[in-house]
Amino acid sequence: MVELTIDNQRVRVKKGTTILEAADKFNITIPTLCHHENLTPLGSCRLCTVEVIVNGISKLTTACTFPVEQGIEVRTTSQKALEARRLAAELLLAKCPTSAKIKSLAQEIGVAKPRIKVREEDCILCELCVRTCREIVGRQALKFINRGLNQRVEPRIDFSPDMCIGCGSCAYVCPTGAIKMEDKDGTRVVYARNWEKEFKLKKCKVCGNYWAPEEQLEYIRGKLNLPPDFFDVCPNCR
């Protein structure tokens, strides 16, 4: 167990807990965007910024990534933390002004209209899709392409069609609607601005409804070692 102070409360939490988790336990809410409790934290949106005081030195950090340490003091609503959140929200809003989710988060944080202009994009590189595909679905259809000294590219999310099974988890988890999914006439399309993949949906032998992408069912069948005809009938008719 580790003892620390959050907003003047002395609390004890398990070692390895993040500040965000610790705060949550004591009903202190911190805004988040790129965080999901079932995924590895990333620290990309920086909306969860808090002030921490370690050995008398005050610094900012992201609550979702920082594991608590003995004796630290966390201030979730200090001037410094709130200002940093406002800056982060302003930048995100400038990048993606149409997203309802970002608009409401920004408002909550106190930003109505950004002062700055940048090229607008619907993807904010939060990598929720990347992490979901890898950690939940067990595929790696989406990867983050970072820029760097020897990678002179625009940072982006890269899509490998061969790896995609059409489950649509990325579309569910995407906060800005940059990844979308549509089912129509026996096909499903998963798509974003610069990529798409079409899937044939499986028809139930009993009710005749299209119910899931064939590739996804094949993937599950392989993983669970199910008989070849297992998915011929949809769960409703089984």
């Binding site: 990333l42 620290g43 990309s44 949106c45 920086r46 910024t49 921490v52 370690v54 030195i57 610094k59 900012l60 950090t61 992201t62 920082f66 594991p67 340490e69 410094k80 200002e83 940093a84 800056l87 982060a88 930048l91 995100l92 400038a94 990048k95 002062r115 700055i116 940048v118 904010i124 590189l125 890898r134 790696q140 990867k143 983050f144 392409i145 970072n146 820029r147 760097g148 000294l149 020897n150 990678q151 002179r152 625009e154 940072p155 982006r156």
Partner: protein, 649 residues
């Protein structure tokens, strides 16, 4: 002359603008290397501030040139850094174009401070610092540009990007870059980045001395990033997945290059030249390629199949290796010119064992075996009959390798004798510790003076005890024999391993190629040129016994020079090495503000259990698994340092 107009570096400012009283400040006073003065540089900006020597320099222009480079490196993994730096660059460009507004200054200030406080990595947190300084100290210049509403010309700044670890690596690998690719599970790209500077990733991932790790900034918090093991992880991943790297088809050139010696230096040079399209042939004396990596380093540290795979990929890139061909015996060096080779790279290493200076060492006693020969025999699988007691003489890695090999061969009582004390012992600490764990005994402050033999067979050595005197030229305390302390150590085998030197007997005309005092080949260290026309040299035969990464780095440099030599007929110092010289001496670890780093200890790997290490040469160290590699990769702070400067007119 210490003429400086303005300096704000590492939190210290010197301001001589428009003052009657001038503070003279030398580069050293500013925290910069002594090469930095107004005769060479007009202005300089980097992660910890900026300096102006020429008052005509437009600081806003410099800030823009700087932030453009920062933007190219900014990874995009945190939005404050990614979007924020983009806006900084756009805003500075606007001001220079004469379209700035007064409120842009406060915008820049707000953003730059915000990024500094809250970007996701060290690079993001330090990069905006000179921008903040420039606004603080050169606000008038900003205002002037904004009021004039006229576009001003942009100067051409020179750029250097590095990191403490990258600078410490002789091959200057893009370490934060390949680590980040591992974190994003893009192993293939990570490995191809590594191969840009290291053509033996599997080998280097195992036995590199890793000077990068010593320079790693994370050491000041909880422990270095395990850079070497991360490299090993991707190399092993590729091998275990049965993949071959997608090397771009090299363009074909008719020009031929000869390389003497298939050690790391020769291999690195050949690989780079082959990628440039040259027809490269390596002539190798032994029946195996790899140099000391094949016949020196024992397999329990470097399994043969790892080396073989790395070499196979070099051959796939188009390099021909002619084994069992010794230059000076099977072919003459002079003949290579007649065969149409346009340049020669000498990379013959240092294989000749030095003499101990003990009586009887030249008597060819049975049981007296030079360390190099011993390890070669071990590595080539020649039968060595284990004896009861063996003395290994020396304190370097070679001695430790000999001793640990002896144990694996079944020698029962393995002893190292070293003439100085533990502190001076040059072998790596971890190696010494493993050796002791395995049962090697080390006698310090002892030197054999006479080899004792009966019927031509070694039975022991007469030794003398030593005391330490004043430091010698190497900085270590000089061992001095203690009179009357002679004693006898019994042994059935003695292995001297006290250092090697190159065997240069094959060189045709000694006057043509200049040698240095230590009987090594003299070269220009940046270009690898010898005094002989069209002849280059690198690796251990130039430096004396060094380490793999030095040999690889010199092979890389030689390839660049040879390419220039063949294309242009002469070698000019590459742009890269000029930049390298320019940053030499800057303390890359320093930064004004320390980051807060949550304590996450380095990942550890398992080792082959002690009792399984005898009677075989199985690899001792295990690599990371995927999870450990990912966790370790996350520990990198990304300490990229961007610098721009304007040369003086």
């Amino acid at each position: 002359m210490g003429k400086v107009v303005f300096s704000s570096w590492a939190g210290k400012t010197v301001d001589n603008r428009g003052l009657g009283v001038k503070q003279h400040a030398y580069a050293e006073d500013l925290g910069l290397p002594s090469g930095y003065d107004h005769t060479k540089v007009a202005a300089f900006m980097g992660w910890d501030g900026f300096v102006v020597w020429d008052e005509k320099v437009n600081v806003v222009d410099m800030a823009h040139a700087y932030i453009k480079e920062v933007q190219k490196v900014c990874c995009g993994e945190c939005m404050v850094g990614y979007i924020g730096i983009t806006v900084l660059a756009d805003t500075l460009a606007r001001i220079l174009d004469g379209k700035g507004r007064e409120k842009d200054i406060s915008l820049l200030q707000w953003l730059a401070s915000g990024i500094k406080e809250n970007a996701g990595c060290t690079f993001g947190q330090t990069a905006p610092i000179p921008i903040i300084d420039s606004i603080k100290y050169y606000r008038d210049e900003y205002l002037k540009l904004i009021k004039n509403k006229k576009a001003v010309p942009k100067s051409n700044y020179k750029v250097m990007v590095t990191a403490p670890c990258m600078e410490a690596c002789p091959a200057h690998l893009d370490i934060p870059g390949y680590i980040q690719l591992i974190r994003n599970q893009r192993y293939r790209e990570s490995l191809s980045l590594i191969r840009n500077g290291v053509c033996l990733p599997g080998v280097i991932g195992r036995v590199c001395t890793a000077p990068c790790e010593e320079a790693c900034r994370r050491t000041q918090y909880d422990g270095r990033v395990c850079i070497r093991l991360l490299k090993r992880y991707v190399a092993d991943w590729e091998m275990n997945s049965g993949l071959t790297p997608s090397s771009a088809k090299p363009r074909k050139s008719k020009e031929k290059v000869a390389i003497i010696g298939a050690g790391p230096a020769g291999l690195a040079c050949s690989y780079n030249l082959a990628l440039k399209g040259y027809q490269v042939t390596i002539f190798e004396e032994l029946s195996v390629a790899g140099g000391m990596a094949a016949v020196g380093i024992p397999q329990y540290r470097l399994p043969r199949k790892i080396l073989e795979r790395d070499i196979e990929l070099i051959e796939k890139a188009g390099v021909e290796i002619r084994l069992n061909t010794k230059i000076g015996r099977d072919l003459e060096m002079e003949g290579l010119w007649k065969d149409g080779y346009k340049a020669i790279f000498i990379a013959i290493g240092a294989h000749k064992g030095r003499k101990m200076g003990a009586e009887g060492e030249d008597n060819d006693y049975e049981g007296f075996v030079d360390g190099m020969k011993f390890l070669r025999d071990v590595n080539l699988g020649r039968v060595i009959e284990p004896k009861n007691r063996v003395l290994v003489v020396g304190g370097g890695d070679v001695a430790v390798d000999c001793a640990r090999s002896c144990l694996r061969l079944g020698f029962r009582d393995v002893n190292i004798v070293y003439r100085r004390s533990r502190v001076e012992m040059p072998a790596r600490k971890a190696e010494i510790e493993e050796a002791e764990k395995e049962g090697v005994k080390i006698s310090y402050l002892v030197t054999p003076t006479k080899i004792l033999a009966r019927d031509g067979k070694v039975i022991g050595a007469e030794c003398v005890k030593m005391a330490l005197g004043e430091p010698d030229s190497s900085g270590r305390r000089r061992p001095i024999p203690i009179k009357g302390s002679e004693f006898v150590m019994k042994a059935a085998m003695i292995i001297p391993a006290i250092g090697q030197q190159p065997d240069l007997s094959f060189l045709p005309d000694r006057n043509q190629i200049k040698l240095a005092k230590q009987m090594t080949i003299e070269t220009d260290t940046t270009t690898c040129q010898t005094s002989g026309e069209g002849i280059f040299a690198g690796g251990d035969c130039v430096t004396g016994p060094a380490v793999l990464i030095d040999a690889l780095a010199s092979g890389n440099r030689a390839a660049q020079s040879i390419d220039q030599y063949i294309r242009k007929g002469k070698v000019t110092q590459g742009e890269d090495s000029k930049l390298e010289i320019a940053v030499k001496g800057i303390n890359l670890s320093e930064q004004r503000e320390q980051e807060i780093v949550p304590r996450e200890m380095p990942q550890i790997t398992s080792q082959l259990p002690l009792k399984k290490r005898f009677g075989n040469f199985r690899e001792v160290e295990n690599g990371f698994n995927a999870e450990a590699a990912l966790e370790e990769a996350k520990r990198c702070l990304r300490c990229y340092r961007v610098m721009v400067w304007l040369p003086a007119k």
